[in-house]
């Protein structure tokens, strides 16, 4: 029981810290306008995406099926994800 919970904790990370090429699941989006826009673009909590690029300075590009979305480093720090 306890071990399971620890593993879960380790799995959660910020989108900003994800290595390029990793498949991830979005666990938590910051609420407010940013979340609203993500929802419209098709990303909600539970959506599975891939971290496609990580640019110098921390901007992250995530890809989902046929699309790419650029996420500024400030936002990427506030998004909680887990590896699949």
């Amino acid at each position: 029981m306890r071990r399971k919970r620890e593993i879960k904790k380790e799995e959660l990370m910020k989108l900003a810290d994800v290595e390029p090429g990793t498949e991830i699941e979005i666990c938590e989006l910051p609420s407010g306008n940013i979340k609203t826009h993500f929802v419209r673009l098709g990303v909600i909590e539970g959506t599975k995406v891939k971290c496609a690029h990580k640019l110098p300075g921390g901007t992250i590009v995530i890809s989902k099926r046929h699309r790419e979305i650029a996420v500024g480093s400030e936002i990427a720090k506030k998004i909680i994800v887990k590896k699949i």
């Binding site: 940013i34 690029h53 300075g57 901007t59 500024g72």
Partner: protein, 670 residues
């Protein structure tokens, strides 16, 4: 804002309003062109650079709207699209078949408004390439509206769309939302679409209708809940109607991937910028403009208009005889007390003198009014020449480049790439657009700062543009002078300019409350731009620029002309002299160059040409002139965009910064 809207879109009796709506980059403009043909009215939404296109099709007035992801008021473009959709009788929603999941959110929201909707499922060819199969009948049934597969670039499916528009219906609305809408619209006597926006917490709609709520406090914070439900519904629909044969190919083409690759992306930017420089900087700004400005503008247009006026009014003509290198070798002066027509003898003398010689003429009119109109800085001579023969080709070139960057899908990638750098000066990646345009014409770029989302960003960008960015007119002269001054001087100049640029940005970023808008953008696939779209965009923007800024060039020239005639200009030059000599350690004549820089920035730099300066003096002078106040037209446009108070603060800062930095450079170097 809203009252303008009503004036902008006047009601035409017996005609229905068809509004085209869709996400960015779904091919809306091709549909618009098909429906309206060539008879398109372009107007700008009041107070924005967002263009509204309007045309006629049968008994419809057709409107094109900016690309949006949903109905809300996050930025100017969304507000405008939303207001136009409110007025619609029929909505044609263009959807990208490849990105159906993303686009369906907007489709469902449009259906929820209770307006009749037709869906054009565009880019079916690309979907086929990507092995995406869509069950169109099922999709149409689920949405409750006609869904027509189209391939816009090949004009396929347009006829069917046209037929469907005639019999557009209201789709399957969300039951819960529909109940809420009818409650609110009955209770407060507002339209259904307004009710929907109230429920979704759209601030603009709520503010507008405040008075109707009769002081009733209504809790509108259901946006997130409704949005997530709508998103889930869209995803369910997609799961039901879309099947993909393979596990999805590559996300975007090779070029698109390279463009945002951390390392190759840099090479990509370098190549793009170099190509842009070759075409715009070299071909247009130097070769073409030097021809249009000097040959057509000076030798044909200005000469003939002045000669015509000189026929009837007192004038003094200086004839400069030139050798092969266009250097003046002899000057002869002719005075016509009552115009050329009334002094045939003097005219003969002049004609004999110039025979077989390469000459240029200087007209000095005796009357102050004529000097203001037709003199060196004449409203009808210099300004017309400047606008039509120098700025126009340049602005066309820059807007064409921008259109290519936009339509190819590279601009969002470039914005992504430079976003972090821009953050240091309090801006986000989008600011790269006015920045690039600034190197063409600061006036043009100042207008495009409206693209930026917050007034804080507009403020920082305007200050950076007006203070630190040299426009192309200046760049040509600066380059020539630096070539003469040598490598070391060039390096010092570049370093100084870059430091000032960074300092201005960083200081403003620290001082102004708030921070840069975080970047969150959808990256469209890279495509080959369509020529007709490029041409239309470029033409529209150029026309708009001339309309918006042209007048200020005339007003500026008029003011300078008045100052010249009344002797104020000379006074100003004298006031600046001690500062120029003691602090900047430049010859007294340099202050004339500074003042001329107010008229046209390149005049300022060009004034240094004639002076005999050491390389280090050149650096000090050029630093001052680059940082120094922008030309009078861009000042006027800035005052209009940012308001008199803020504009004048920026203007005064540019004086102070120019003379402070220029002086420090001079004290260190000389």
């Amino acid at each position: 804002m809203y009252t303008h809207q009503r004036a902008e879109i006047e009601l035409e009796k017996g005609l229905k309003k068809l509004v085209l709506v869709g996400n960015p980059n779904v091919g809306k403009s091709i549909f618009f062109n098909y429906f309206t043909g060539l008879y398109v009215e372009v107007s700008n939404y009041p107070g924005t650079t967002v263009e509204i296109l309007k045309g006629r099709y049968k008994n419809f007035i057709v409107y094109d709207t900016p690309g949006i992801y949903g109905l809300s008021s996050f930025n100017d473009e969304e507000r405008i699209a939303k207001n136009m959709i409110m007025e619609a009788d029929v909505i044609l929603n263009i959807v990208d078949a490849v990105n159906l999941e993303r686009d369906l959110f907007l489709t469902l929201q449009l259906i929820d408004t209770g307006k009749p909707v037709v869906v054009a499922l565009n880019m079916m060819d690309e979907a086929e390439k990507k092995k995406i199969k869509i069950n169109i009948e099922r999709l149409s049934k689920l949405l409750g509206v006609p869904v027509i597969p189209t391939i816009a670039v090949k004009q396929q499916g347009f006829k069917e769309v046209a037929d469907a528009i005639e019999k557009a219906t209201i789709g399957n609305r969300d039951k819960k939302i529909q109940e809420k809408i009818s409650t609110i619209s009955k209770k407060f006597k507002v339209s259904e679409i307004e009710s929907l926006l109230i429920i979704e917490g759209d601030s603009e709609t709520i503010d507008k209708l405040k008075s109707k709520f009769d002081g009733e406090i209504y809790n509108f914070d259901e946006r997130e809940k409704i949005y997530i439900e709508r998103r889930n519904k869209a995803n369910q629909i997609v799961a039901e109607v879309v099947s993909i044969d393979t596990a999805g190919g590559k996300v975007s083409g090779l070029i698109g991937r390279l463009a945002i690759h951390p390392i190759f992306g840099l090479f990509f930017i370098a190549i793009v910028l170099y190509l842009a420089y070759l075409v715009v900087g070299k071909l247009i700004a130097q070769d073409l403009v030097s021809f249009t400005e000097n040959e057509i503008g000076s030798r044909i247009y200005e000469y003939n208009i002045r000669k015509f006026v000189a026929n009837y009014f007192p004038v003094e003509i200086n004839v400069n005889v030139l050798d092969e290198n266009e250097e003046i070798v002899e000057v002869k002066n002719f005075v016509f007390e009552h115009g050329l027509k009334n002094s045939p003898n003097t005219l003969n003398e002049l004609q004999n003198f110039v025979r077989d010689k390469n000459v240029e003429y200087e007209f000095n009119f005796k009357s102050p009014v004529l000097t203001i109109l037709f003199g060196e800085f004449g409203v009808l001579t210099m300004t017309v020449k400047y606008l039509l023969f120098l700025l126009l080709p340049l602005v066309i070139g820059f807007y064409l480049m921008l259109a290519i960057l936009e339509d190819s899908g590279y601009l969002p990638r470039l914005a992504t790439f430079v976003d972090r750098l821009m953050n240091y000066v309090g801006l986000n990646g989008k600011a790269v657009i006015p920045m690039i345009l600034g190197f063409g014409c600061v006036t043009m770029a100042t207008i495009t700062t409206r693209l930026l989302s917050t007034s804080r960003e507009k403020r920082i960008m305007t200050a950076i543009l007006q203070i630190t960015i040299p426009c192309s007119a200046q760049l040509a002269v600066i380059t020539a002078l630096l070539m003469r001054a040598g490598f070391q001087a060039t390096l010092i100049y570049l370093l100084t300019m870059f430091s000032v640029f960074v300092t201005v940005g960083v200081v403003l970023n620290k001082v102004l409350p708030g921070s840069a808008t975080p970047l969150l953008i959808d990256l469209p696939p890279m495509r080959i731009p369509r020529i007709d779209n490029l041409a239309r965009k470029t033409w529209m923007r150029t026309f708009y620029f001339i309309k918006e800024a042209g007048m200020w060039f005339f007003i500026g020239a008029f003011l300078i002309g008045v100052m010249q005639v009344t002797g104020l200009l000379e006074k100003w030059i004298q006031v600046l002299s001690p500062l120029t000599i003691n602090w900047l350690q430049l010859p007294a004549e340099a202050s004339r160059a500074f003042i001329m820089g107010i008229v046209r920035r390149d005049f300022g730099a060009a004034g240094f040409y004639a002076l005999d300066l050491t390389p280090m003096q050149t650096v000090a002078g050029l630093v001052t002139i680059t940082l120094f106040v922008p030309c009078i037209a861009s000042l006027m446009v800035m005052l209009k965009e940012r308001g008199a108070f803020e504009g004048l603060i920026i203007w005064a800062s540019s004086w102070i910064i120019a003379f402070t930095v220029g002086g420090i450079v001079s004290q260190i170097l000389i």
